[in-house]
Symmetry: C2
Subunit: 192 residues, 2 copies
C-alpha cells in the first residue's frame, strides 16, 4: 500500500507550482534561487525536486500550467473576456495575477535570451491561438463577426492586443483607459 | 586647444551606444558583462566608462536614445507607421531592429524586477505617448479620426497594439498575418 495517495501527490505538486509562480514572477528566472524557492514553498529542495527534475522543468511546468488554464478560459469565454478579467484582477492587485503576468514576461525574456528554451516553448504555445481561432470561427458561423477580414487575421489581432496588455500590466503601468480600449478591440472584430 | 573635438566625442559616444544596444539585446542586462561590452564596442572599459558613469547609466542612455528617436518618428508619421516599419525591418532581419526590440523588452524586464529602475524610467517614457496623442488630436481636428471614442482612448489603443507588436517580434515569433493585423488596427481609429 502506498503511503501517499495520488491525490496527495497532485495536491503537493499544485502547491509547489503556485508558490514557485510567485517566486519566479517576483525575482525572475535567474533571481529565483533554489533557496528562495524553498522559502516560497516552505519545502526543502529535496521535496521540490522530487516533483520536478530541476528548476528549468519547474519553470516550464508553471508556464505550461498557465497556458493550459488560459486556453480553457479562451475556449469558453473568448480572448477579449480573458483580457477584461486580467485587467480587473490587476486593478485589484490580486497576488495571483501579478504572479501570472510575471510568468508571461519571464517566458518572453527567456524566449529571447535562451534559444533552447525558445525551441521547447514554441512547441507548447499553440493551444491559446488554437482556442482563439476556433471560437472566432464559431462566431463567424453565427454571423456576429465582421466578414471582410479573414478569421486568421482577427485571431492574430486579438493576440496582439493580448500581448500588449500583458506587457503593459506586467511592467506595472497604470490601467488608464484600458477598459475602454478593450471595447475598441472588441468592436474591431464585430460585424456592424 | 582640446585634443578631441566635441564632434569626435559625440561620434564616439554614439558608437558606444549602438554597439552596446546590440550587446544588451543579445545577452540581457545581466548577461551583458563589462567584458562583453568591451568586445562589442571594441573599446576598453576605461574608454566606455569615460563616456557613461556605469553599466546602469549606459543602459538607460541606450533606452532613452531609442525612446527619443521613436517619439520623433511618431510625431512625423504616426504610431501605426512606426509599427509597419518595425514589422518590415524585423522581416528583413536587420541587425539594428533586433537590437532595438531587445532593448524594449529588456526595459520591460527591468521595470518589473528593479523598482528603482521602474521609478527612473517612468519619468522618461511619456514622450512617445505625448507624440501619439498630439498626432491623433491633429487627425481629429482634420476630421479623419472616428469621433465616438475619446482621443485618449485611441492613443492607448495604439500603444496597446505597439506593445503587443514589440512583445511578439522581440520573442522571435514569425510575422504571420501582422501586416493585415495593422490594417485592422489603423481601420479601428479611422472615421468611416
Amino acid at each position: 500500500m502506498p503511503r501517499v495517495s495520488q491525490d496527495q501527490l497532485d495536491a503537493r505538486r499544485h502547491e509547489i507550482l503556485n508558490a514557485s509562480r510567485t517566486c519566479f514572477a517576483r525575482f525572475g528566472y535567474n533571481g529565483a534561487t533554489v533557496h528562495r524557492l524553498e522559502e516560497a514553498t516552505g519545502m526543502s529542495r529535496g521535496a521540490i525536486f522530487h516533483h520536478f527534475r530541476d528548476k528549468e522543468h519547474l519553470f516550464l511546468a508553471v508556464a505550461e500550467d498557465d497556458a493550459a488554464t488560459m486556453a480553457e478560459i479562451v475556449a469558453r469565454n473568448g480572448l477579449v473576456q480573458v483580457m477584461r478579467d486580467l485587467l480587473e484582477r490587476a486593478g485589484n492587485s490580486e497576488g495571483d495575477t501579478a504572479g501570472w503576468l510575471g510568468t508571461q514576461l519571464e517566458v518572453a525574456h527567456r524566449r529571447r535570451t535562451d534559444p533552447a528554451f525558445a525551441k521547447r516553448w514554441a512547441q507548447r504555445s499553440a493551444a491559446i491561438a488554437d482556442a482563439t481561432r476556433e471560437r472566432l470561427q464559431r462566431q463567424r458561423d453565427a454571423g456576429v463577426l465582421r466578414e471582410d477580414v479573414p478569421v486568421e487575421v482577427l485571431t492574430q489581432f486579438l493576440e496582439l492586443a493580448y500581448d500588449g496588455l500583458v506587457l503593459h500590466l506586467a511592467t506595472g503601468r497604470p490601467a488608464g483607459e484600458l477598459a475602454a480600449v478593450l471595447d475598441v478591440v472588441e468592436d474591431a472584430v464585430r460585424r456592424h
